[in-house]
Symmetry: C2
């Protein structure tokens, strides 16, 4: 590999130029090995955030991160594979019903997931509310479960894109998270290294999402779709609403319970809608558009896969969700129509109740979370419960309640209300 | 002191906002104490480089760096004080004749100097070519010498602006040196903390300088003059040419010898011109514009102060300069008029001969350097010496000669030549 001077690489991007393939390969490799220091990569990340990277640079950067570690290979499986990635939102439990649903339709789902940081929840944190369930599998266990059950949700191993792991931790503490080239390459390096045959991206937009405006969300979606296609992964992105939280719950155990309701044929309409929409995309990407996931969901087969998937990872699908030490009910202050429920307010409240973490080494509470008893468009009655907050640490209620202040609007009964579309755009 | 979240501080500057006084005070203090990590400050420095700081932010940043350490106080001296700072150039030995000249005019000169890094020489490196001379003085020794001799050139103690020391080392390895707010605050925090009553800045512009174009040089000069005035230091800046190296020598011992020639009433005209011009500004700043430094230079009194200053720091003013192990002469390839001599080419050649260092812990050679036997406008004769290179490490000649290639132009005899002005602008 050609050697470079790190200060010259930083200068190139700082001064608005593009990085050469050789500079990108070298800087990612040297950073992974410790030859480029954290402070040097932090300066480069800030220069990338402010000056951008073109499509070829982002593709090379992603490729260099993939090359920093191992690649998985699912080609020996008897079924095609499809995976989904969400950029993160509030109440976004979709992976939980989606993975077993797609597996029940005949497509294997190798879902390598993460833990939550900040106000967006983490899929693994949610599943750990299930008694006995373990997030860590060996590669062999994962392959066997994909063949036998068809769906795996587990922690990504340390071997996939270690450069991304190191860089993500650095960006988190240096104010350089919000760079579209770095977000796109971080997500896609892991997904491409994971070896899925097709991929559906759920790019969230709105107050509770990482991307606050539609233009940024579309740019991120387009960048990731291009990266996937360039790497030979059949990739589609849906841009979906995250101004309002998904479903009726945010937290850990509460979101598992809601997901099980969906698998049982019930659950909130928006969670069902998005689960089915994403399942259709995954099936189409894997060449199985002959199956209608709505029918399969209604048949109960997805629930069977869910139970098998939980059992395969030592979880008890019949165990009740953990009970919180304390609950606190917020009554509706007036009667009328709920016209707005802000995803960020709800997400921060859930985080402050103990469902999320501030630092990656912090624990989370399985029983912490929040349930809202109405969605925008629903009627509310003064004095009836509007939110139920739960936590094992009642001193957390005060700050969670602060976050909910101003986070919703109730209009007089009869005020016209038009729901915003859940799926805003599709890029392929 | 109000506490802040470092990521929020980085975000504010990253997103093009201004930092509050409280954020600046906190981040500088926390960085000095280790509560803000190098990678966080590197990201902030890159954001400052790319998004800038306004005058009030730069002033507060400078003030916070001053507050990170001790301040000196020369008010007990019987004479007013004046100091000079050069942004660095090639052959820039001006401090050596200037400090004793101004002292001989009745104004005390507390000149805290640095060592060279890269192709620009360092005043302390040059003076260390004088047998026995020591750069490090206690504060008491410095005060006594200022009272007795009137001039001190010594190393800045670790106590002045420790935040700047740490930040400068970080910027050097993270590609964030070339930020005018950070350059200005770095220089001025040390000069204001040093406690000089008046200050003259020599802002160099041209190939051999840090600032390559006049607009950047003027902006840096104006920023520093404003900082000085805001802090109550009578501050003036001259913007001077560094497209051509100063005098006829670059290196260590060779520049000391040239400086002594100037003090003896001889020496190259440009070195004399700039020394006298800067002396006039320093004297005016200290309220002594009744004295003409050109007369004092001619009187020999400045040489007396030089000898006393060298002796006070254990140096022998009569010791010959160290002799290099090897010299190499470059003959003029044609006869005619030297129309261009590039400061950067000469500076890099001197550096490569061993007069400068690549890393701050490297040693320098006292005898290494380069002498040119003609200045732009002078006649040259084919085959006569044009450059004399000297070093203790003859393997260094080849790369030094490479640097000189293309670094000068000889035009046919009689070609009209107009010298560029040495002092380009004055800001006060």
């Amino acid at each position: 590999m050609e050697q470079h001077d790190v200060v010259e690489v930083i200068h190139a991007k700082r001064d608005g130029g593009r990085l050469s393939d050789s500079q990108i390969d070298w800087v990612i490799d040297a950073y992974t090995r410790g030859g480029v220091a954290d402070e040097q990569m932090a300066a480069l990340a800030m220069a990338i955030l402010l000056n951008g990277m073109d499509r070829a640079e982002i593709a090379r950067w992603t490729g260099a991160m993939i090359a920093s570690g191992e690649r998985m290979d699912f080609s020996s499986l008897s079924r095609p594979t499809a995976d989904k990635h969400s950029t993160g939102g509030v109440g976004d439990k979709i992976t939980l019903p989606l993975a077993p649903l797609v597996a029940a339709c005949g497509v294997a789902v190798p879902q390598l997931s993460g833990r939550g940081l900040g106000h967006t929840g983490g899929t693994l944190d949610k599943l750990e509310a299930v008694a006995g369930w373990r997030a860590t599998l060996s590669n062999d266990e994962m392959m066997r479960q994909l063949e036998d059950v068809g769906a795996v949700i587990c922690a990504a191993g340390d071997g996939l894109a270690p450069a991304d792991k190191k860089l993500y931790a650095l960006r988190d503490v240096t104010g350089t998270v919000e760079a579209i080239p770095l977000i796109a390459s971080s997500i896609m390096s892991k997904k491409i290294a994971e070896g899925t045959g097709s991929l559906v991206l759920d790019v969230k937009v709105g107050s509770g999402a990482f991307m606050k405006n539609i233009d940024d969300a579309r740019e991120l979606a387009a960048t990731m779709v291009a990266l996937g296609q360039d790497a030979g992964v059949n990739t589609v992105a849906l841009v979906t609403d995250m101004a309002t939280p998904l479903g009726l719950t945010a937290g850990n155990g509460v979101e598992v319970a809601e997901s099980v309701e969906v698998l049982a044929g019930g659950g909130p309409a928006d969670v069902v809608e998005l689960t089915v929409a994403l399942a259709r995309e995954m099936l189409a990407g894997a060449g199985r558009d002959d199956v209608d996931p709505a029918d399969v969901l209604a048949s109960g087969k997805a629930m069977d896969v869910w139970r098998a998937m939980i059992r395969a990872q030592d979880g008890d699908p019949d165990a009740p969700m953990p009970t919180p030490k304390e609950t606190h009910v917020v009554a509706a202050p007036s009667s009328g129509v709920l016209t707005r429920l802000d995803a960020l307010s709800v997400g921060v409240a859930s985080w402050r109740l103990g469902a999320g973490r501030a630092r990656k080494e912090d624990p989370v509470q399985a029983a912490a979370g929040i349930t809202w008893h109405a969605r925008p468009g629903d009627s509310v009655v003064e004095g009836a419960p509007l939110f139920t907050l739960q936590t094992d640490a009642p001193e957390r209620f005060a700050r969670a309640l602060e976050s909910l202040e101003g986070g919703y609007d109730i209009a007089p009964a009869g005020t016209p209300f038009e729901a915003a579309p859940l799926v805003i755009d599709r890029l392929s």
